[in-house]
Subunit: 377 residues, 2 copies
């Protein structure tokens, strides 16, 4: 048979510009994480890898402040863990109440619907958060099996307070599902204290690991719901009733785990444990405050009130008459700094600036402020 060489293109050795990733993610991986990533492989059932799996589970529990036995990295990006959280706990007909105050709330609505959920929404404008009264009203009206909230809305920069929410959920006998993609490792999170039943995250935000592996945790009530399902999980790859046999004592083959991404995650989580959560949360807060002060001095406002503002992701109001896209473009082209714009109802109105994990450093704040002064008209 004759070979088709049309697509046999000549390409150069990989090279990429030295970007400083101050957008909504990915953020730059820590150099130690990149080193761990390139370690030679072992097999996915190797005793050494199983040891590493246990370590990743333990270190994730620390980062999330949970004792949940079922705490694992999912073999995909944050979106896969998000889908896993719903695919496993939502059964056809379950009422799922989603707090929608940004893009990721909308995505939860989309995903929960695909798994047969009877999805209801409570809404707030993008950038605002839900009060306990809002949530009580929603729970009273909809009586859901699951309440889903986004702790850190990457599309708006708002931090949803979670204190007291679980008490409401217990009162209404529903599970609490939380998106912590942009908070894990950078923003205070007390999963067990706050009574969260289901949570997921990404690796490429405050954990400073490349994207491609994503934490998921299920508390005892969520595991019980999974075990008592009337219908099989409608997703093989993310079926935690199968995957739990690989992550549990049985170590049964399900799929080949992404070995090197697990190496990287381990190093990222080691860095969290070394620094300690208090210090890490304080660092994220301090560098964010520095940025916010710098913006204020330039007369630029933040979209979210200080009280609900995420330290990991700031939404900056674009000054009147400024072309948001042109500014972001110049930062990238002239200074190798990536920030992002807004989308949905915030398109053109905000920039999104991440100061996450390894990137949450005063020198990055200083540089970004200086560069903004250069490129703003």
């Amino acid at each position: 048979m004759q070979l088709n060489n049309t697509h046999r293109i000549q390409t150069d050795q990989l090279d990429v510009p030295p970007r400083l990733l101050l957008g909504p993610g990915p953020s730059n991986a820590h150099p130690r994480v990149l080193q761990a990533l390139s370690m030679r492989q072992v097999g996915h059932l190797d005793p050494k890898f199983i040891e590493l799996m246990n370590e990743n589970q333990e270190l994730l529990r620390y980062a999330w402040q949970t004792d949940n036995q079922f705490t694992i990295p999912v073999s995909g990006t944050g979106s896969a863990a998000m889908e896993a959280s719903l695919a496993n706990t939502v059964e056809p007909g379950d009422v799922v109440l989603v707090g929608v105050n940004g893009y990721f709330g909308l995505r939860l609505v989309d995903m929960a619907g695909r798994y047969g959920g009877d999805v209801r929404q409570i809404e707030k404008p993008w950038g605002e958060v839900f009060s306990l009264d809002d949530l009580r009203a929603g729970l009273e009206q909809h009586r859901p099996a699951i309440l889903a909230l986004v702790h850190a809305e990457t599309s708006t920069g708002a931090r949803q307070p979670l204190e007291g929410v679980a008490d409401l959920c217990r009162e209404f006998n529903c599970l609490l599902l939380i998106d912590t993609v942009t908070s894990l490792g950078g923003v205070p999170l007390f999963l067990d204290e706050w009574g969260v039943d289901i949570a997921y995250s990404g690796s490429q935000k405050c954990l400073s690991c490349p994207p491609g592996i994503a934490p998921l945790t299920l508390g005892p009530r969520a595991v019980e719901k999974l075990n008592n399902r009337q219908t099989p999980v409608a997703n093989w790859y993310l079926d935690m009733s199968l995957l739990s046999k690989y992550w549990g004592n049985e170590r049964t083959y399900h799929h080949t785990a992404p070995i090197n991404m697990n190496y990287a995650l381990r190093e990222a989580l080691r860095l969290v444990a070394e620094e300690g959560l208090e210090a890490r949360w304080a660092r994220h807060q301090a560098n964010a405050e520095l940025f916010w002060e710098g913006l204020a001095e330039m007369g630029i406002e933040c979209h979210v009130p200080h009280e609900y503002r995420l330290p990991s992701l700031t939404t900056v109001r674009v000054p009147d008459g400024v072309d948001a896209k042109a500014v972001a473009g110049r930062l990238l082209r002239e200074y190798n700094i990536e920030i992002a714009g807004g989308f949905g109802p915030l398109a053109g109105q905000i920039w999104r600036v991440g100061l996450m994990g390894f990137n949450s450093r005063p020198e990055n704040v200083m540089l970004l402020l200086a560069a903004l002064k250069e490129v703003l008209p």
Copy 2:
């Protein structure tokens, strides 16, 4: 709030034994691939990353010998690409005929059922393949919308011939779906010549890239079926109607691509293009033959007849009275060589030996044969 430090374990810097991975996968990544993997990141919408996405698509087309426009790496392991192939093309009620002659056929059955497929099976003992007559009989009886076959059965070592199958599929007006996880980059594959409509693969076998990214290709007939679906794809993460907007000209955000895994895949595919498919296929065949000859000299048999034997994955019959598990254990402990056993109906009866990608080298064959001589009773 008081921090829970129970799970703040002390761990050492990552270190793993220098394993030679001669099992069914993962195989060792090429050193150049590991180097590329650890390159600093750019954003997933960065112009440089979009250039790299295009290159990966082109190089995948070469490796698969296809002009399919829709050819992308899925952000998960081979199992995710497998699920994507079905989730997008199977609609509830579609008859899906699966050729089951090993574990991965069974998994196709499981997955297709989760997407509402009316799944039918034709069966052969593990290690055998389907003839055109077998397939014609199956198509005549079941009149499926999709015929799914495993080109390279990793559980049995058998290579399913595909010449002439597409003509049958056209005659019965059905799509042809092929598992190429253990063949892409190591075993002759002519997707377009063979009229394959849907195929998927993994990165960690003959491509010598770590697991965590997985090729998927849809031909024009499969894309048409996707575009004409009556029901939405019941899986958000793997919904190619959404993902095609990120991989197409629109570059619309869907999920954050696994940046570094894409770097690694690019380097793996560059290595394929540099070596050339003919040379690469010939190398895999030659090293496999060397191994088979060595086995024959030791009086050890292969499970699959020479004609249908995969060069990438050999199933070795365990000699009478030998404890398969003990032998594999000694190879790992004493010589850092990983091979795997059989499972299902072949449990205890075979070893599975992979000579894939970077690992398909005469010195590895020599070493394994010598080590086997040492540990066999």
